[in-house]
């Protein structure tokens, strides 16, 4: 028996899928933004080897990278409310994904910082720059340029991993699709549809980062 692929079914469910897509985009964009901030702040703490904080950051990175994401999501959703921090499903998801992506971004950005030559740090020092000025004016623009490809990887992973948030009942794209599958059993239609939608937003994200890369590369082009 051949599968009767009903394109019309995708069209019918598209409004619901787009609702899910919107949630996916919202949760991902916010989480990516926060994870970039966590990455920069964490990497700076490690760069300047700030006592105690540096160890805390190191432990946090190690913990996130050594444990599966799904239990981390459960931990944030159930654990934090047990600790008295009441968060909606949406913001629990944002928090979990931000903490996850942030840990990876700390390593990404740190790699970029370390690739900025020691000589430039000395030059900044000999010009009486404060550490924060070195960070903001030298290490960040040069280091982020270097770590942009790995940060894009992390951003794409955050976006894809937003699908795990169905586990805590967030009505994002995968959740909506699975819901329809449970109702109507149109499995191939649903997976084809969300496959195309995920591909599309990852493509848009990549194009955005490539543009950013172009801007940061400008001084290094000899013409």
């Amino acid at each position: 028996m051949t599968y009767d692929f009903q394109f019309g079914y995708i069209v019918d469910t598209m409004p619901a899928l787009l609702d899910g897509l919107l949630i996916t985009i919202e949760v991902s964009v916010i989480s990516i933004a926060i994870s970039v901030v966590i990455g920069i702040v964490g990497a700076a703490i490690r760069l300047f080897e700030i006592p105690v904080l540096s160890q805390v950051v190191g432990g946090y990175v190690h913990f996130i990278r050594s444990t599966p994401l799904l239990p981390q999501i459960y931990f944030v959703f159930y654990g934090f409310s047990g600790l008295g921090l009441q968060l909606s499903t949406f913001w629990s998801g944002v928090l979990a994904l931000s903490l996850w992506g942030g840990a990876y971004n700390i390593e990404n950005v740190r790699g970029g910082f370390l690739a900025v030559s020691k000589g430039l740090r000395e030059a900044a020092g000999s010009l009486a720059f404060r550490p924060i000025h070195y960070l903001w004016l030298v290490a960040l623009p040069l280091g982020v340029r270097i770590s942009l490809p790995t940060m894009l990887n992390t951003a794409v992973s955050v976006l894809k991993n937003s699908a795990y948030l169905q586990a805590i009942g967030l009505a994002e794209l995968t959740f909506v699709a699975m819901d329809r599958v449970a109702l109507d059993f149109r499995i191939l239609e649903m997976f084809a549809a969300i496959g195309v939608l995920y591909l599309g937003i990852v493509l848009i994200l990549s194009l955005f980062v490539r543009r950013l890369e172009g801007v940061l590369q400008r001084p290094f082009r000899t013409s």
């Binding site: 000395e122 030059a123 010009l127 009486a128 004016l137």
Partner: protein
């Protein structure tokens, strides 16, 4: 021309008993030196003699293991970042590899530090930068990025960047060692002019011609110690120490 240290004017930079150890190896082993205002001190010696470590200690790029450093009579707490930041506003540095910020234009490379440190407003900093660039013949490169400049041009910009902070002294750490031979001259010419104008300079270099011509004093270092210090005529003409003679015979 020799700037003698007189009791009425304390040395601009004074170093006593400077020691720097790297993992048990003594790169500097008890160095005493005074650098007078307006003096050009050229430091020579074989590689690994501690000459670079010595000038890097003078602005805190290396933290001395032991010893005292005074800038203009005021002791620098060598463990205090704030003390060093204050000292670095007064003591500029030029590096072997220029170390210009590659993502900034020439003008921004020069203007940034004086603005940050509150030495000048944006307009003042820019005016000073253009004036200094004109003096080293690079005013037309103000909006270029470092990658578009030759090594000699980059090093001249680096000197201007140090000058823009209106320092009392500038340290030069082998400023021509990374340059193509044909651009060494243009950098030395700028340094010669600075010396003529009375800038206090400490120069680590292998350019013996420059040392002979421009230095007020030449300091020969070996194995982390000062072997001898004297006028260029003394050190090059009739060195007192056999070790100095040996070194000069080898390189001249």
């Amino acid at each position: 021309m020799t700037a003698a240290v007189s009791p009425s004017s304390p040395p601009l930079i004074s170093v006593r008993g400077l020691v720097k150890s790297f993992k048990g190896m003594r790169a500097l082993d008890g160095v005493d030196a005074d650098i007078a205002r307006g003096e050009v001190l050229v430091v020579i010696g074989p590689s690994g003699s501690g000459k670079s470590t010595f000038i890097r200690c003078l602005n805190g790029l290396e933290m001395p293991t032991d010893g005292r450093i005074e800038v203009d009579g005021a002791p620098v707490q060598t463990r205090s970042n704030r003390d060093w930041r204050r000292a670095r506003q007064r003591i500029g540095m030029v590096f072997q590899d220029y170390s210009l910020f590659p993502h900034m234009t020439v003008l921004r490379n020069i203007c940034l530090a004086p603005q940050r440190a509150g030495v000048a407003t944006a307009a003042q900093a820019e005016e000073t930068a253009i004036r200094l660039l004109r003096r080293v013949g690079l005013a037309h490169k103000a909006d270029s990025y470092p990658v578009e400049l030759s090594g000699g041009q980059q090093q001249r910009v680096a000197i201007v960047r140090a000058l823009a902070m209106k320092p009392d002294a500038i340290l030069f750490d082998e400023p021509t060692s990374a340059l193509d031979p044909e651009t060494v001259g243009e950098v030395l010419a700028v340094m010669r002019e600075l010396a003529r104008e009375g800038m206090t300079m400490v120069v680590v270099t292998h350019e013996m011609g420059f040392a002979r011509e421009v230095a007020d004093r030449v300091m020969f270092m070996d194995r982390g110690r000062i072997v001898e210090t004297g006028t260029p005529a003394q050190v090059f003409g009739s060195p007192a120490e056999p070790r100095t003679r040996e070194f000069l015979d080898m390189i001249l």
